[in-house]
Each structure stands twice: as structure tokens, then as C-alpha cells.
Subunit: 203 residues, 2 copies
């Protein structure tokens, strides 16, 4: 979902190849695209890139507006994106992305609670920097939003209770037309979209 969202925001045309995960032969199909066996994979002519964050940096080289323009803000955006890329395992495991569910309450374990607190703290730190310039983490949409949008969806799905600053951000994500389109497409798929989120944690 993450690179998908950035590509939509950049109005870059692309063809999607869906590989239903955890079905017979899926590993071989994946490996035909990339030896890492991870999704998503982005192909641009003869360049094949895997790992969301690497794909997003590749797109940002050609479209610098994918990162905030101030070096200080860009550094924070990269730090929170890297933190999401590698962390928050409890949240990923216990609150899987489900595009059909809404406000499905489940008990929040201590580890998920810590993940939620840290994410709320990150959103507040980012939004404090350029709040007047727009409703996204750094005002305008950037890679940090591509990284955190799936988390906002999870919070909405599971009715995670947060303060008003965090809820504002969740509302921004839920109202976004590209995200709505992605959710609708995902809900119509036979295969579970969870898989895209879980495998390799690069969703």
C-alpha cells in the first residue's frame, strides 16, 4: 500500500501485478520478480526495487516533494519512517489490516499499548512542525504519511481510542480519496490484504 499511495499522489501511471500470497506457488512467482521474495516490488524499465522504504526513496529522488523541503523536517520524516519500517511488531501482529472491518474492538495488550503511545507521540511531534500547511504529518502529503496511513487505518478498524490530535490525523487518512480507493479495491480481492502487510513487514 505504501508505494502505491505515493505513486497515486505523484500521478504516476503504473500497472499492478497482484501475487496472492500464501497460495500454492506464490514464493516462486515472487522470486521471479525479486530474489528477496518480499512485496511490494517496483519495476521501472530495467530497475527492480524491493522494500517500501527503498522504493519510496527512489521515487523521491525523481520527485523531491515526497519529502518535506526543510532539511530538519526531512530528517525527522526519515527517522519516523525508518522507525515504522523496522518496528511496531506487536501492532502488526495483533492488529492486522482488515479492509472490511470497522471498529472491531479487541483487547489491547501491553505491547500494543506501547506501540500505540509511541505512534501517537510521533504524530504529535510531526504535526507540530507544519500544522498550518495542511492536515498531513508534515502539512502536505509525504513519505511519512505513506508509512503511517496503514497504521491509521488499523486504529480506525479496531476503534483504538486516541486524543484529538491523533484522531484528526486518522480522519485525514480515512477521508483521503486514494486511500478510500485502495481500501475498496482491497476489500474486493479474494486474497487477504493482510498478507501484503505481513510478509517482510514492508507493506
Amino acid at each position: 500500500m505504501r508505494p502505491w499511495l505515493a505513486l497515486r499522489y505523484l500521478h504516476i501511471d503504473f500497472e499492478e501485478v497482484r501475487i496472492p500470497l500464501f497460495t500454492p506457488g506464490y514464493k516462486e512467482k515472487l522470486r521471479a520478480y525479486s530474489s528477496a521474495g518480499l512485496v511490494p516490488i517496483y519495476r521501472d524499465d530495467d530497475i527492480t526495487i524491493w522494500e517500501s522504504l527503498a522504493i519510496l526513496e527512489y521515487l523521491a529522488e525523481q520527485n523531491p516533494r515526497l519529502w518535506p523541503k526543510e532539511p530538519h523536517h526531512r530528517a525527522v520524516a526519515r527517522a519516523v519512517s525508518a522507525e515504522m519500517h523496522a518496528g511496531f511488531q506487536a501492532l502488526r501482529e495483533q492488529l492486522p489490516l482488515n479492509c472490511r472491518a470497522r471498529r472491531r474492538r479487541i483487547p489491547i495488550t501491553a505491547n500494543v499499548g506501547k506501540n500505540v503511545s509511541r505512534i501517537v507521540e510521533i504524530w504529535a511531534q510531526c504535526r507540530n512542525l507544519r500544522r498550518s500547511e495542511g492536515p498531513w504529518l508534515f502539512g502536505e502529503f509525504c513519505i511519512a504519511d505513506a508509512m503511517y496511513a496503514p497504521v491509521a487505518l488499523r486504529f480506525a478498524t479496531y476503534g483504538v481510542t486516541v486524543g484529538s490530535t491523533a484522531q484528526e490525523y486518522i480522519d485525514t487518512v480515512m477521508k483521503d480519496p486514494y486511500i478510500a480507493r485502495w481500501m475498496a479495491e482491497a476489500a474486493n480481492e479474494d486474497e487477504s490484504i493482510d498478507a501484503y502487510e505481513h510478509i517482510g513487514n514492508t507493506g
Copy 2:
């Protein structure tokens, strides 16, 4: 270790603040530098950055030679760096970095074995691209080397048996004067350097 190594390669002067982890009050000390509570943390005037990968991208903006110059190679370097940033949990947990040990053989579990195979595959893929230009992953030293040097040290520490291409790379890492200096400094510390590697997985 990762940003440390890149800073040394760039001949950038910096002051080190060591925070012994898992000692009384260490969390508060860490949080005084960054709310993420993760090490390493890099400070440049009023800019505070956490997460190795974000620090390294920040340094690369000012010093583009930290990434390979060809867009295709740079994309691969970013992908393998992101893969290391988020993955290889079994290896991190079961083969902790130990600066005093050498060829300490331990049984390799199936999951560590898979990590080792994938890492060896990554090194071969990278080294095939610019082998004639130097002994590092993309010829000259780059961020991908900063990310994989600690792994090469682990392979050496635990006497992991690999093919000649991978062994060549391990030898390059083991012979590097900056890495030798880092190892010597770490071996003289009271606190275990393992902690730097484990907390937040951003070593």
C-alpha cells in the same frame, strides 16, 4: 556502529556520548536526547536524528558518495540496506555481536540459516555490479557496507561457513582500520556493546 563508520569514512569530526544501556536510569538519559528512546542518535546543531538509516540518509544528502552514483545501483543499495534495517531477527537474536570473541561456534538454527543464505545472496548480487572498482559491496565503501559490516563481524565471530565471495567480503570488513578501531574501543568498554545492536534494532 553504522553511522559511526560512515562518519569515520567521511572524516567528519564528532563527539561521542556513550549511554550504557540496561543500567539504572538509562531510559531517561536516552529520552533526553530523543523521544524515540532508540540508539544511535545523531545531533547536528539543532537537528536531532534517530534511526541508523535516517542518520545515514541525512549524511548522504551532504555527502552523495555515501551511495553508489548509478541510480540502478543506488536503488539496490537502498533496498538491501532497508532489508537489513527491518529484517534478520533470528540472526540478531541468536548471534549477538561480541567484540571479544572469535570463531565461537554455536549451532545454527534453521531460521539463522535462512538469514545467512539470504545475506550471502545479497552480498553476491551487490558485488557482481561493481567488483572491479573495489572490495566493498558496490566497489567503494557505501551505506550498504555500514549496514552489513556488523553482520560480517558476526559471521567472523561465530565462524559461520560461507563461500569464497562472501568470505572475501568478511575479510574486507575484518581488515578495515576503522572497523578494527571500533572493535578495539568496544572491547575496552565495560558495558556490553550488544545492547547498541539490540535496542530498537538500529545498531
